[in-house]
């Protein structure tokens, strides 16, 4: 705990060298020099602000002291090589890491002035507010209608069948799926194509009426055409939701996001406007990654 407190001072000053923190043996070989976050960590009027977020999987220290603000109605992309902790960080934002045995998240994540990384917070309403779309399309093995209606039903968002129908229809419309499925709402959601399934999952998420949508590599299992549709959709959804998207496609990050965060081996290396990150990276590691020298 002490080391975390000490490093916090450096972090906020944002002046470069971070004090070496305690690390388990396997990651001790990493050069800890020059790994403090560069770029614009803070934004005005953030939707969520994360301070000193550390994640441990048992002995493994997966994320080191991440500080990051997520702005309102922005699409923030998290990029980085495999195993860099971008998905783990994303899952901190709605406490999905709780479901993983042996995963410990420390630090502070504030939303609406409330500390969400606290035992006192009930994760059920939090996840209704900060909902998640996963890497692999995972519709429930039920009808398309039931897939979308599940969220509103468990949260009691609709008082009657008519309202529920309306939520289902608008959600499917927003997800750009309505025209394709309006004639087969009672057919199983698993019978759709991969891209349609992922849009169904997005519709299911939208139906709950969240404020922040977390997307964990939503297009990695899809072909380029389906990917393009999802990307268009993300762009449309930006007006109503704050979206955090994890992707390992740099082109996708460049296309859909306003800000980009580059993670490397558990450290947040650089954050900034997407255009700046891709045209003029400040950090050597970022430059190496986006120019394809590794990753």
């Amino acid at each position: 705990m002490d080391t975390i407190e000490k490093s916090k001072v450096d972090e906020i000053e944002d002046t470069g060298v971070k004090e070496p923190v305690f690390m388990p043996e396997d990651s001790a070989t990493i050069d800890r020099e020059n790994r403090a976050t560069v770029g614009e960590v803070f934004v005005d009027n953030p939707r969520m602000s994360c301070r000193d977020v550390n994640v441990h999987y048992g002995e493994n220290h997966a994320i080191h002291d991440v500080n990051l603000d997520i702005g309102c109605n922005e699409v923030i992309a998290m990029i980085g090589p495999s195993g860099c902790g971008k998905s783990t960080f994303l899952r901190c934002l709605n406490r999905m890491n709780d479901t993983i045995e042996g995963c410990k998240v420390s630090g502070s994540i504030i939303m609406d002035g409330e500390e969400i990384n606290s035992k006192k917070i009930d994760v059920v309403p939090l996840r209704a507010q900060v909902s998640m779309v996963f890497q692999k399309p995972n519709p429930f093995p039920k009808s398309i209608y039931e897939n979308v209606a599940f969220g509103p039903r468990i949260h009691g968002l609709a008082n009657n069948k008519v309202e529920l129908d309306e939520i289902v229809v608008t959600s499917l419309e927003k997800a750009g799926l309505w025209n394709e499925v309006k004639d087969r709402l009672d057919k199983p959601g698993t019978g759709l194509s991969g891209g349609q399934q992922q849009r169904l999952c997005i519709a299911r998420t939208i139906a709950v009426g969240p404020e922040v949508i977390l997307m964990d590599e939503p297009c990695s299992a899809l072909d380029p055409i389906a990917t393009a549709r999802i990307e268009d959709l993300i762009d449309e959804l930006r007006t109503q939701f704050t979206i955090c998207i994890v992707t390992h496609s740099m082109q996708q990050a460049a296309r859909v996001s306003q800000r980009t965060a580059y993670f490397h081996l558990g450290d947040l290396i650089e954050v900034g406007d997407t255009t700046k990150i891709f045209t003029n990276p400040k950090h050597q590691l970022t430059e190496d990654y986006i120019t394809g020298r590794f990753g």
Binding site: P125, R127, Q129, P141, T190, V208
Partner: protein, 428 residues
């Protein structure tokens, strides 16, 4: 020095050996399956060959004069008098009338043995139902005695010395006469499927044991399915991973391997001696079998829950479903086929179990058909055990027939398990 050989040559040279090994391996598998099938068919053939004759029973037609002087000398037609009257005497008189040449006391006794003792009960029932029959001569088909039935089915060798057989020469002559008069015929053995146990093989049936098995299994199902599923759900989905839950898990796995008779002793000590529950009752049998099947159901249910893809849970949790909602709406329906399969396998195990039930007194000779879970009764496997223990030749075929009935139930249950699984199975 030889020149370095090419890989392909070495591979080719070894191909023959490799192929031979493949063939041998396949043959071992085939031989194992063939052996299994041979034993299975031997088992079935021997049981069916021994038992199929039990589904038929010989009946003899007798014309009984319902003598008012014997049955109701006072002519009041009161039930109390009618039900206690000497119907056996009527049957005996009828037989004497049919074979007037029989004079000696000894021969008469042998004559009376042609017909089952059940004949007098049958006539009694008829008279009690319709007292108008008194004074009339009625023709009824009654079951023959089990020894005669064995003779008619060819299980008794007519050519063996008279002293060696239970059926004497004179009896054979009377039977032959009855056959020539077409007064004996084989019919479907309804008694076997509708009666309870009896000391007389021709009157013994499996219905009492089947009803006992039914009530026992109902109690087992009602208790073990909810308890087993609840335990599995808790252990798999909600319980923290610590030493205590590890300890429980190890113990559940151990319980599955505990000999079933131990559960019987436990049932005797706890349910009967401590809680004072009735002996020989399906309720206690059900409780004991619940203890026995719980590990099976818990293990199968946990496996079913484990096989539900985690993406389904994440999907539900990711939009804010509580763990219980995730469970009830998504995980349970997907795990249900596996759980049901496990339960039915557990039930089939319970249906075939006899050892623990011996301990709690379900081995008693019970003639009445149980009407509920608290009546004394026995179960199918115990009935088989009891009949297998009886000396009469006719019980041999009834034992095999009862095994056939038990097997039929087991096959039905397993087929049901397969059907349920197919029906509930969904793709994701």
């Amino acid at each position: 020095m030889s020149k370095k050989s090419r890989t392909i040559d070495i591979v080719r040279a070894g191909m023959k050996k490799r192929k031979a090994a493949e063939t041998r391996f396949r043959l071992y598998g085939l031989a194992a399956i063939a052996l299994g099938l041979i034993f299975l068919s031997l088992l079935f053939v021997s049981i069916v060959a021994n038992g199929y004759t039990a589904f038929a029973q010989s009946y003899v037609e007798i014309e009984v004069y319902i003598d008012p002087d014997r049955i109701d000398p006072e002519g009041k037609r009161e039930d109390s008098v009618l039900s206690r009257a000497d119907y056996g005497g009527l049957v005996k008189a009828t037989l004497r009338e049919m074979f007037p040449e029989v004079r000696s006391r000894r021969d008469k006794r042998q004559l009376y043995r042609l017909v089952s003792t059940g004949a007098s009960y049958e006539i009694r029932e008829m008279v009690l139902e319709d007292p108008e029959l008194i004074g009339q001569k009625i023709s009824v088909w009654v079951p023959v005695d089990d020894e005669i039935d064995m003779l008619l089915k060819g299980h008794i060798d007519r050519n063996s010395p008279e002293a060696d057989r239970r059926v004497k020469d004179k009896q054979i002559a009377w039977v032959d006469k009855l056959i020539s008069e077409e007064k004996i015929e084989k019919r479907f053995n309804t008694i076997f499927f509708t009666a309870g146990d009896s000391r007389d093989p021709e009157l013994a049936g499996i219905w009492g044991a089947a009803a006992g098995s039914f009530f026992t299994l109902i109690v087992t199902l009602i208790l073990s399915f909810p308890i087993g599923v609840a335990a599995a759900v808790y252990l798999e989905e909600f319980a923290p991973q610590n030493r205590f839950t590890d300890f429980i898990e190890v113990n559940i796995n151990n319980l599955a391997a505990v000999p079933s008779i131990v559960f019987g002793l436990l049932g005797l000590a706890v349910f009967i001696n401590f809680f004072g529950m009735p002996r020989s009752a399906p309720i206690v049998g059900g409780l004991v079998l619940t203890l026995m099947t719980l590990p099976t159901i818990i293990i199968a249910s946990r496996a079913a829950l484990k096989s539900v893809p985690p993406s389904i849970r994440e999907a539900a949790l990711g939009i804010g479903a509580s763990p219980m909602q995730t469970m009830v709406y998504h995980v349970l329906p997907l795990a249900m086929p596996g759980m049901l399969t496990g339960t039915i396998i557990g039930m089939a195990q319970a249906l075939g179990e006899s050892a623990p039930l011996l301990m709690i007194g379900m081995v008693a000779f019970i003639v009445d058909i149980p009407q509920g879970a608290f009546d004394p009764s026995t179960v199918l496997p115990v009935q088989i055990y009891l009949w297998a223990d009886s000396p009469e030749r006719a019980f041999v075929e009834r034992t095999s027939a009862a095994i056939m009935v038990l097997l039929a139930f087991l096959i039905t249950m397993n087929a049901l398990a397969v059907m349920l699984r197919k029906r509930f199975e969904r793709r994701w």
